[in-house]
Symmetry: C2
Subunit: 445 residues, 2 copies
């Protein structure tokens, strides 16, 4: 929350216009940004000057890739000291990104106690509760009084990250309850903790639960921390709210990528080969769908030979209906991602999109008909164009709203490739409406 002003003995060396002391005086989150902007050799030079604890705090706030690049460029002894000073969950994240050999070398140089803890944490899947939890938990004997508990917390508080909750366990480490600092301050001094939590219904999560589900629980119940337990209900650690903010941000923006067939976990740091592997299958599916649209056009090739202007109009219909559909699609995917699924409400939303689609289609197709007629003077052709465009836009709106819902009903990710499916429908049907209608009224008529 606050940044302590420090008196340091750092040299007045200059790093990108800031002295080492000025960088150190920043909040670790800001110092991390500054460090990321330095050359790797300056990064190393700077980190060597810092107290180890400060170095650990700043490095913990850096991006994964920058962190890893820096740590492997430090001498192993210093790197190990820094790891020891990081929160175990941050240290585990860092180690997970390293090569097997480097990881083992560093683990061999930390204290036996830290090594054992980090090795345990490394066994958890990083995408689960166990993989994101913090093991620095205040555990209290349930037979303590509230006052004894506060005294115990006072002793322990310096080591632990955010001890706003303390956890009560029985003799076999099974979680029996949770008390907040608030509960303890409010409690009558002599009351036994066990009494405080007697009527409590605990919210806990298994270590193997997906981290996105963990984030949902924390957001849904407005928790600051959620205890992680094993199958025997033994307390393993806690996930805190600050750990899930990034998970929530990542997850909420994943849909934007998956709807067009990019990988949910792709970032601009992903290796090129990784991104190609994620995207190529969907590009191949897209080309097959495109071939379907092309086949529809092929059915009317004769009409196009007679009236090449139809080919001129094709992109307008396809693009416009695709865009109208994507607007419905995006709003629908967001609803499904943000709210608990409510089938009735969701299908009512399709009806809402139909109404929006109808209005937009009427306005846009009237506009296109009007301009087309004024510019070309061709009444029937302009009517055909306006009609095909309008019908395809309405279809796009309904398809855009329905596709995520159908995917959801089929038990699939509502976003995955939804934009690709949508375009397949609006392209092929748009060409069918335009070329078919033109064939009926303009050529054979």
């Amino acid at each position: 929350m606050s940044v302590e002003k420090k008196n340091t003995t750092l040299q007045d060396e200059n790093f990108d216009g800031l002295t080492a002391a000025e960088i150190e005086a920043q909040h670790p989150a800001d110092a991390a940004d500054t460090i990321e902007g330095l050359d790797i050799s300056d990064q190393v030079k700077f980190i060597k000057q810092l107290p180890v604890k400060d170095a650990a705090d700043s490095i913990a706030e850096m991006d994964d890739l920058d962190q890893q690049a820096l740590i492997v460029n430090l001498n192993k002894g210093l790197a190990a000291r820094i790891l020891e000073h990081m929160a175990p969950d941050d240290a585990t994240d860092l180690l997970e990104g390293l090569e097997e050999e480097q990881r083992r070398a560093l683990l061999n140089m930390v204290t036996a106690e830290d090594r054992a803890e980090l090795n345990t944490l490394l066994t958890f899947d990083p995408d689960t509760a166990g993989g994101v939890m913090n093991t620095e938990v205040v555990i209290l004997d349930q037979d303590l009084t509230a006052d004894e508990a506060i005294a115990k917390i006072r002793e322990e508080v310096e080591d632990k990250e955010i001890p706003y909750y303390a956890y009560l366990t029985d003799k076999k480490d099974r979680l029996e309850g949770v008390v907040s600092l608030r509960d303890l301050l409010l409690a009558k001094r002599g009351v036994i903790l066990k009494e405080l939590v007697k009527t409590q219904s605990l919210i806990t999560v298994g270590y193997n639960i997906d981290k996105e589900e963990v984030a949902h629980l924390i957001a849904h119940y407005n928790l600051l921390a959620l205890p992680v337990v094993d199958f025997g209900n033994r307390l393993l650690g806690v996930v805190t709210v600050d750990d899930v903010i990034d998970i929530i941000h990542e997850e909420a923006s994943e849909d934007m990528q998956t709807m067009v067939g990019a990988g949910a976990d792709e970032t601009t740091d992903s290796p090129v080969g990784f991104s190609v592997r994620k995207r190529l299958p969907w590009l191949i599916i897209n080309v097959l769908f495109s071939a379907l649209s092309a086949w529809v056009v092929h059915l009317f090739e004769g009409n196009i030979s007679e009236m090449a202007v139809l080919a001129v109009l094709m992109p307008i219909v396809a693009n416009q209906a695709g865009n109208a559909g994507q607007q419905a699609l995006a709003v629908m995917i967001r609803q499904l991602a943000m709210e608990r699924f409510d089938r009735k409400r969701a299908w009512l939303s399709v009806f809402r999109e139909l109404r929006i689609g109808l209005l937009n289609a009427m306005i846009i197709s009237s506009l296109v008909f009007g301009v087309g007629f004024v510019v070309s003077g061709k009444l029937i052709l302009s009517l055909v164009m306006g009609m095909a465009l309008g019908v395809d836009m309405i279809l796009g709106a309904v398809a855009g709203a329905s596709i995520p819902l159908l995917l959801k009903e089929m038990g699939r990710d509502p976003a995955q490739a939804s934009s690709i499916f949508l375009t397949a429908i609006t392209d092929s049907m748009g060409f069918f409406f335009l070329l078919g209608l033109a064939g009926l009224v303009l050529l054979n008529g």
Copy 2:
């Protein structure tokens, strides 16, 4: 965190398979979901049976629209009592959604103190720090000792939402520092608060700062609460981390909507007219862009009359390059949204997308060339098609990665309508490559 099991005297009336007592025993967040699923008459009947505090807790967790629908269906006296029991920020949110007249009627029935507070909160723009802040803050005199402070907090804690921080102000209400419960528990008993915060650099936010910026600050600095001040540095309230989780989720998924020209703030609850007004301008821009693509086709209308098969191939090129470009676009928008802007890194990402685009283009266009040649037996046409497709896909990848970045450099939202701009480029240039190349080598050659 925990749900108290309650002994209530609720009647055993049945609401969708649950008794009132069973619903009341749920966590307020879950009870809210249950209530939302009931008919409005059952909602009213159920709320009337609850203790007012429980009703307020559950209603605060309901969706905005459901909340408003319920509150206007309750008798005004009960509604006012419920408002009084809600946190002021939640009550303000609720009132903001009501008609002017209903709002005034309810405000007239709450206590004078609550009315004054709510009226003040209602003056803040709901999208700013002032609009999302909580005014229930523990304020301490900076001359207290740590022990006196704890005693004072014990007195006040029952009224305030999550008093993990207490704020120190001077005689003129100016914010002087912040102490956490953790600080107080750690401090030596006799130490004066002023001494504790002497070297503190406070992170605060002005009341008129956009709520998304507030969310960024809380996420960046891993805060549990951020004090909100006026221009004179007087403390107005705090924004807590649980209040920003929804903001972060909403904001992260906004880009998906704005990239295709839907409104950032559209939801499936938005009135149809609101959505039409948001989307129609972009649809009109899109139809203008489509007209541009159509004009490119028009330039080559003669070629199409001679070779209608070109019209068959057009949708494949346009759709495929559009899709490849959207994949790059989505990944790039996410980078710009999640990280502090780093110009060098961002432009390097464009280079990365170029490499991905090259690989995907080579594979897909070889595939299309091969299949095209085998099916049609036309070597030159298949080559032209493969080439136009490949070049347009590469262009799409570069354009998709560059558009958000260019928008950002121009000081605009990187997502806004980016997909519309992209499609304009991939469509028009795709047609130009395909029809132009075909004209050169197949018709005039």
